[in-house]
Amino acid sequence: MSRYLAIVPALNEAGSIAQIVSEILLHAEEFDVLVVDDGSDDDTAAIAAAAGARVLSMPFNVGIGGAVQCGYLYARDNGYTVAVQVDGDGQHDPRDIRRLLAALAEDPPVEMATGSRFLGAQDGYRPSRPRRAGIRVFASLVSLITGQPVTDATSGFRMSARRGIELFARDYPPDYPEVEAILLLHAHRLRVREVAVTMRARTSGRSAIAGGVQPYYMAKVLFAVFVGLLRRRPALERDES
């Protein structure tokens, strides 16, 4: 039986979390919603629970990677077959969840579908110019390494099937995980497909990659990508046949 989970990492999103939870329940009702509260100071957890979400409360802030991974651990342990990540700040439109689900099942089936801001018509939220430049660098790099065109390597809006869930539950980058996660799947020879989505400007909270953090983000991710290439391929999927 198929079971679907929407993982919503949230840090101090009391202002928007209720809306996101109810939007997911409305537009993708086959999905259970799991809000991972990463040590918020406000009432994010209580508001999310009242809106109908399951809630994991981290005892303190462990960072986006650790919080999302906790969601994948939950999905793995509770037998979910598909898990989608939806940001708690309102950037991702829950109406796109079903489109990701359809893309996952398209022929040939893939293990992960990501929502891309740069595929197809580009309307809605546009990142600032330096940020777009950084995004493009990573997109080219990931395309080069994986040998398939990737237009939005830094998208956090993505859906994984069971093997992706198991992989991320075991091994997930602790911070700024988007780029590394795609390469991780590639290293395990799992296929990825992109879906054109429209991202909205965030309704609350602030970006983790704001202001002076950007050079650090670039350096950290580039280094992680480089070291990842040096790592031995952990061939957990030995038989594709």
Binding site: V55, L56, M58, V62, G63, G66, L73, Y74, D77
Partner: protein
Amino acid sequence: MSAIVLAVAKAPPTYQRVAVIAIAVLVLALVVELVRRRRLMERYALLWLLAASGLFVLGVWQGLLTTLATDVGIRSAPNALFALGFAFVVALLLSLTLVISRLSDQNKQLAQRLALLANRLEELEREPPEP
């Protein structure tokens, strides 16, 4: 007073040796005491013991430092000492960041396990099992 100054001026190497040996013994004693009080774990004490022992050997074995320095082409022995000390500090820092990395990973795993267990417990409390 002047006699002491004269004695030091006459035989600086001996005076320095005593000072070096004293410092080495003090560091050794401090490390052992910290381990004894369980403030410092044995495995992290090893690097410090190694450094203090090295200092002790250099103090006792006169000429070793000069020989070592000449062998690697360092003209003045104190410079060799600085190089050694710097290498030690770098090694210690690297080992500390290794420890921190491991601790933060374990810390993350504990937090995740705790959040999952708390959620499970809440679920179980909400729907008690059928008798």
